[in-house]
Symmetry: C2
Subunit: 205 residues, 2 copies
DNA sequence: CATATTATTGAACGATGTTCATAAATTTAT
DNA sequence: ATAAATTTATGAACATCGTTCAATAATATG
């Protein structure tokens, strides 16, 4: 008996219901509201039931974050350089940053949970979820390869990580209102400027 | 009676003892360990006593973060461009970023609390503490003014915020090990590269 | 259909920050 | 000085959190 079929069916159903509820709570009320009791009462199950499906409450949060990354991927995967969007590689990289910025503004709660959770979690984030992050940066890598065809695999990955991290820092501190009030247009202009300047300054090297 | 002198004396003494204890706990065990009961038992007072000195536990954390910012300021204020360090403005900006990076590595717990706390806190961070952050970015502003004497006040502040945010993002995700393992030397090289490239790419504009 | 196995439940546990009636200390008045 | 009045410190108690586990319900097996 590889686990009763009635049981696994119920568990799978509960699993998606929990993630759905978690997604809604996170989006509307933020990460702090995404508690075990809140999701349990939202789907109408017991608190203990969550632990039959997920190891932790962190497991549920990671599952929700995975959904967020998928949404983000759909938003930015339209900016493939040289593809249907007809953008030059450097324009494409700037647009990727702007799209990232827009997503963060539009889905602030879900977006910030992506990184807040990583900071406060105790156990290691599983590889399959980290790979989802890496996959997103893959879009940057592709654009970089088009921009500088002779770049090595290692260098392109390093540079993509650098660009992403830098843009992420600007969006993150920008949305927290750290140094100045940031209307959306201003933030978008800043990240585009950052990407273009960095790429321009790097070119001769 | 502007508040009994015996009382205020005790309270002031307790205040610094609480901050001392908080600083030690934060540095050694991280932000999660910085609890009301932990600091109370460390200084040997009641939990309620904390609330006679600070409004929140957040108030205590902010006081500790203020100490951290002062330490960070001492570390980076030696890099004044054109001053005793004899560095060119752009070298100075790169060194500032590297010094920031070193501080983050050396005092990871205290440093990350600076921003983690801002993300999870509910109430607004008080102006006097935000100004301490702004003061730190002032070092960048000064270097930028030396580099481009014609820059406006507004532009120099914006650009300084952009540079800081970008460097912060790289250090932050770097120390979290998001994209690649980052030995100290690698991280320092990355932030220096980022600053130099951005400045170079910006120059013609 | 009865028995054995497995899965689900929700009260209970140990934390957390925060409060507030009580106790202790200090200041004021006599 | 001593008593009364006021202010301050205390820590048990409250609400919340994630998590567990004996007891119950449901399923699978003989």
């Amino acid at each position: 008996m590889v686990t009763g079929s009635k049981t696994t069916e119920r568990r799978n159903k509960l699993r998606v219901e929990l993630i759905n509820a978690g997604e809604e709570i996170l989006g509307k009320q933020g990460l702090d509201a995404l508690t075990a009791r809140a999701v349990a009462s939202s789907v109408g199950c017991s608190v203990g039931a969550i632990y039959n499906v997920f190891e932790d409450i962190d497991g549920l949060i990671i599952a929700v974050n995975s959904r967020t990354l998928a949404r983000l991927d759909r938003k930015i995967s339209s900016f493939v350089p040289g593809g249907s969007c007809g953008l030059e590689p450097d324009d494409c990289l700037a647009e990727l940053a702007v799209a990232y910025c827009r997503f963060a503004i539009e889905h602030t709660n879900a977006w910030s949970a992506l990184f807040e959770h990583g900071e406060r979690i105790s156990r290691q984030i599983p590889d399959w979820h980290m790979n989802e992050h890496v996959h997103l940066v893959g879009h940057i890598v592709k654009s970089l390869r088009q921009l500088r065809p002779t770049i090595s695999d290692e260098d392109s990955r390093q540079l993509a990580g650098l660009l992403f991290s830098a843009v992420h820092g600007v969006v993150s501190l920008g949305l927290q209102g750290f140094f100045f009030a940031v209307p959306q247009s201003r933030l978008e202009a800043q990240v585009a400027l950052l990407v273009r300047a960095t790429l321009a300054g790097l070119k001769p090297a």
